[in-house]
Symmetry: C2
Subunit: 242 residues, 2 copies
Amino acid sequence: MTSTAGTADSIASTVKVLAFDIFGTVVDWHGSIEREMQALYPAVDGDAFALAWRAGYQPAMARVMRGEQGWTLIDDLHRSILDEILPRFGLAHLSEVERRHLNRVWHRLDAWPDSVEGLKRLKTRFIITTLSNGNIGLLTHMAKRAGLPWDCVLSAEVFRAYKPDPATYLGVARVFDAAPSQVALVATHHDDLAAARGCGLRTAYIERPHELGAARPKDGAPQPGNDLHATDLIDLARMLGC
Amino acid sequence: MTSTAGTADSIASTVKVLAFDIFGTVVDWHGSIEREMQALYPAVDGDAFALAWRAGYQPAMARVMRGEQGWTLIDDLHRSILDEILPRFGLAHLSEVERRHLNRVWHRLDAWPDSVEGLKRLKTRFIITTLSNGNIGLLTHMAKRAGLPWDCVLSAEVFRAYKPDPATYLGVARVFDAAPSQVALVATHHDDLAAARGCGLRTAYIERPHELGAARPKDGAPQPGNDLHATDLIDLARMLGC
């Protein structure tokens, strides 16, 4: 939206690989969980439930990265956070089968309306890969259901480190035998983008004003460090001549 | 082709993930390399060159698996074998740029004529993933060029072990939170299939009579251990009701 045509041209001509953050950037975790709760447990405040579940995510990854817990897939982190928050929402009685089913909602997240078309267009010119803390199985199930046309599914699971560990960003470059500057991270989170930039990657910020729900609009003002700033993935495709 | 309808039905109802061997099973490495040599270096016997290159592959992986050499991507193993065989074919004079280009022929292998349609049909009912000793970058470039519609790109690189190490077959099951019996390996090599079977996977043999060139037909007679025996990937899709 706001980047200069020169920057977009330089990225279009040098970057080979676009690596995408997933939760919030490509799929709508908040709205999907809220809708699932509405369908399954309508008495529960789905908005608060989605936020509580997601709030446990960074602390749980931090425990693993500090070595307090061995390497853990996000499916298992999601499950332990779920078990922790269920009583707070009056759902302590859920059975093992119901908990397993609910935990898999992260495999069933809906894409933002522009994601499939944007990715299809970007794929014509770039290698498009996930770079998510979500595990490979989760990302694959999600892609199959939502029609996300990845060339490749890369995850923290491949690098045994979660973002923002440099091993993840540099790992993408190494997998594709590319220089860090030939890889761009696409994300709606400035901390993720800043860490990628610190490793020499190019960056594209995607506005997702409703990542935290329609009632809680996110500040999507451009920040100077990012190479590109797009309203959505179709806007990014347009900028990059796809 | 020759398996009973009962076995095919049982696989169609229990298996969730089809993991595909790539070199020989999905793509024609021999013919592709022969054609590339014909185009680039027509004085060289492309058939013999392809066989010599591939012949170095198993011994090179065995050195890594015995610990004589650290973990190495197949791109790098292919390159060291290439450097070794070039003088034998009168190509010792090739420059670094020419060697790099030629080594990437493994990223440019052509699919067998039935592969894309067969995979598209199988993808409607199963998760379809690579399970190859080829590295992720190689497999991704190959898929993009040949139009192979993988749901996921799994490789020895993810598991830090080459097939037939059990870590690879069991790794696929673990990635998808599946029992080994919910995964089937699809391959044209009996040793690969036998190792997968030893880990509890189901197996499907694909005849590829010309894997080693039209002049060297391979014996594709059914072997009793495999659950399914198909002439090609369209035949496999048909058997599995896709």
